[in-house]
Symmetry: C2
Subunit: 145 residues, 2 copies
């Protein structure tokens, strides 16, 4: 029986570059880098090999126990590009709840994080803004007023 | 400041078909279908319009408060295809913690849910199997032994 969400996997081209981005955003490494080379993993994922570097990240002080499974494939190599638009079919956005979104965004802009709009947009009880990680993955920040 | 994960957005081509899949998997609708047509949403997402149908789903009895934001775009239309392989760059997999994965998979196979492998694979303390939703989105079930 399904109990709960466990993690969201983001496959990146450069693990160290992605770690820096998510750390700047306010996440921390909760399980350090491991290098796996597992036939059973390859089999479960229908890939010819299962050789990858992986670590887990989550927001500091998060209570949900969910984490990002941040993966850099070594063999096979990472392929393709992240979805280029938010109406693209697939898992196209990961959203984080933030406090004081305006101050958060201003601080993140000061640390070089790019956003699709200059300021958060309001609709209904939500204030929200979207950033992209170094591979172009859409990450949404959201304050529920 | 980032507090926690809030949701994972999955964009689909047919909302009713996707709802049936995720209900079969063991999730339930926690917020019913709404139709949105919001200029601010379009602006936040850098799209020409923000017209979509959306609902929220989560595992029954989940404690994390995370949900799937299941979206069917109406204008602009949904585009593209979900990532075709698990080494594709991007958010390419959403993983759920399950109890008794063998019984769960057997029950789900009986309800017509397809899996990449016939049985869960074991590596380290993990038993896992991957299914695909009606748009080909990779959904992983995982038991931590």
């Amino acid at each position: 029986m399904i109990q709960d969400f466990q993690h969201v996997c983001i496959a990146c081209r450069d693990l160290d570059r992605s770690i820096r981005f998510y750390e700047t955003l306010g996440l921390q490494v909760i399980e350090p880098i491991r290098e796996l080379d597992e036939d059973r993993l390859a089999q479960a994922m229908q890939l010819p090999r299962g050789h990858l570097r992986v670590l887990h990240m989550a927001p500091r002080d998060a209570t949900s126990s969910i984490f990002i499974d941040l993966v850099q494939w070594l063999d096979p190599s990472p392929t393709g590009e992240a979805y280029d638009a938010l109406n693209h079919v697939g898992i196209n956005r990961l959203a984080f709840r933030v406090s004081d979104i305006d101050a958060t965004v201003e601080a993140l802009q000061g640390r070089g994080i790019p956003f699709l709009t200059e300021k958060p947009q309001s609709f209904g009880p939500i204030r929200t803004i979207v950033t992209t990680d170094p591979d172009g993955v859409f990450i949404q920040l959201l304050e529920w007023l």
